[in-house]
Amino acid sequence: MRRERIVAAMSGGVDSAVAAARCVAAGYDVIGISLRLLRATDGHCCSLDDFHDARAVADRLGFPHYVFDMTEPFERHVMQPFVAEYLAGRTPNPCARCNEHVKFGLLWERARELGATRLATGHYARIGVDPASGAPSLRTARDLAKDQTYFLFMLGRRQLERTLFPVGELTKGEVRAEAAALGLPVADKAESMEVCFVTDGDTAGFVERHAPPAALRAGPIVDDGGRELGRHGGVHRFTVGQRRGLGLGGGERRYVTGLDATTGTVRVAAGEGPAPHGLVARGVSWAAGVPPASGASFAVRIRHRHPPIPARLAAVRDDAVQVEFTAGGSVVTPGQAAVFYRDDLVLGGGWIESAVTGTA
């Protein structure tokens, strides 16, 4: 009988290597695929070294490995929107976009062409099964410190049905130990933390190199009373909530409360200030296919590595929602994802449009 074919997405790192190894151990016919996302001049990520590492793992485990060029779609679906979001005064979330369009979109399409029934990745997340309906559901990883569901919330039922997250039940330490036990050459490989295509960590510089010069405009930094405190080199250099590097000299501690790309204005407030008590998100998708009832309670994560905060669904309109924080305010950053959880279950998520401030 022919074995079920799986495509294992391989970044060259330890997580996807162990994910692939677990597919081999489970008896699948595994094909390893690495994606070339950046051209040679763009830096060191997705570099030859990573492909060689992935290939070495595949050789060690005895399955074929190929590299697919996706530089053009990556530029279109991830890098260009990343630049456009910063220029619009928002703080983008490129990993979620890449997952949606490139890994679980185009790569899945290729996997399907290759006769694979499923795509396995090294993401820290779990796929559960609803006991009542039998439908798959996205759940947080056992290793909560590594959980990546924040970048995967948009995966729908049909995508989850054809996805495997083989390391979701493991801690990072267990993944490394398993890699070492299998003799995989990437067992001790360092983790990549930054946005993979901003290789020097200089996000503002990246935006400036990739934006049309006319889009880069200087502007004023104003306080909540409308008083100009200083000038800045472009809204793309700021993130809502940012406290450092405002260029306002000493004095009162201030943080960024808003960015207006139309007027080129950076708004700041002193001290702690009244934090927003809710948010509006758009492009919201729900695992159940329909939103929960208005007023439903859940937890919302509004930044990677931040714990979800208690909230309730205040209003739903088409694919937009308004969410109220029920246990205190929080800085809200437009452009980031808002992902809704009930315990370890991902209920859905969308893209933060704006903060809700003022009286509750």
Binding site: R36, Y66, G115
Partner: protein
Amino acid sequence: MRIYLDHNATAPLRPEVRATVLEFLGPPANPSSAHREGARARAALETARAEVAALIGAAPAEIVFTSGATEANNLALRGALAAAGPAAGLVTSAVEHASVLDTARALAADGRPLAIVPVDGEGQVAARDVIAAVGPATRLVTLGLANGEVGAVAPVAEVATALRERNVVVHTDAVQAAGRMPLDVSALGVDLLSLSAHKLGGPAGVGALWVRRGVRLRPELTGGPQERLRRAGTENVAGIVGFGVAARLARNELTDAAARMHALAERLWTGLRARLPDAVRNGPAAGPRLPNTLNLSVPGCTGESLMVLLDLAGIAVSVGSACAAGAAEPSHVLRAMGRDAEAARGGLRLSLGPTTSAVDVDRVLDVLPGLVAQVRGGAAA
């Protein structure tokens, strides 16, 4: 048993070549040494030089051995222009190998005038377009004799004839033509010609530049008297000896091999067209074409997926032009032929060799249509 249909990338080492190479891997073999060991190496080197010269109808003294065709092309372009002066420019075509196109662009970045002549939808460059692109500063025209991706053959002799009185050096990269078409430097009328050993079943890492007597060339590598001061460095004797054997075999077998490869390539195309009626052959529909090369696009299929599935089925072919990681980038040749980026990624290249058999071809005919159906339908077969 795997089927290898990627001879335009590299060919398997021929057993006769391997046996001769092994004789020279071991004993000391510096052709510049005065002792007997050196003399043995010198004799073998000069025998190989004569064999390579005979492949192209040249005199042995005009052959400069290099580390491969990439070095030969670099030496031709950089060396000829350096000898012609700081303002000397060049003309080439849009479908050249990267070792020509990238070198030409690097020379242009240094301030030399460069014209890149476009090709038609079949990958053919017109002689009149090349001649028209030659300006007062042009001192070098470089055209690949046969295109390794789609098999188009360029009108090199026509261009060389037209430029004979124009004080322009004409270079041709004949890497893909060697062993597949008759080669004669007098008939071509060119001044410089590049060859590679490994496409002929010789070892990788060896090539040659033929330099017509009297053509001025500044060496790129200096530091020794080797290769008549045109390429310093102790010669790769084992590799060069292997090149010599491969060149001799290619010359002796050319007529039969070319006819056989042509018949098999046409059998492959005819059979595929019958099974995949909407498949498109990329390259010249008529006129001169490499006898061993079939480049096709199958609508609705990414070439990359077909390449992977064929590989898994035991058949080695290639897609587009590969980056260092092996990922297929959109082919610059198909782009130059007017295909969009997606189509330029879709070209599947099957290139036959002298040992390809009818059984190999029929196996592809059995396997490929099912894989196309799988890619199009998406269901696991």
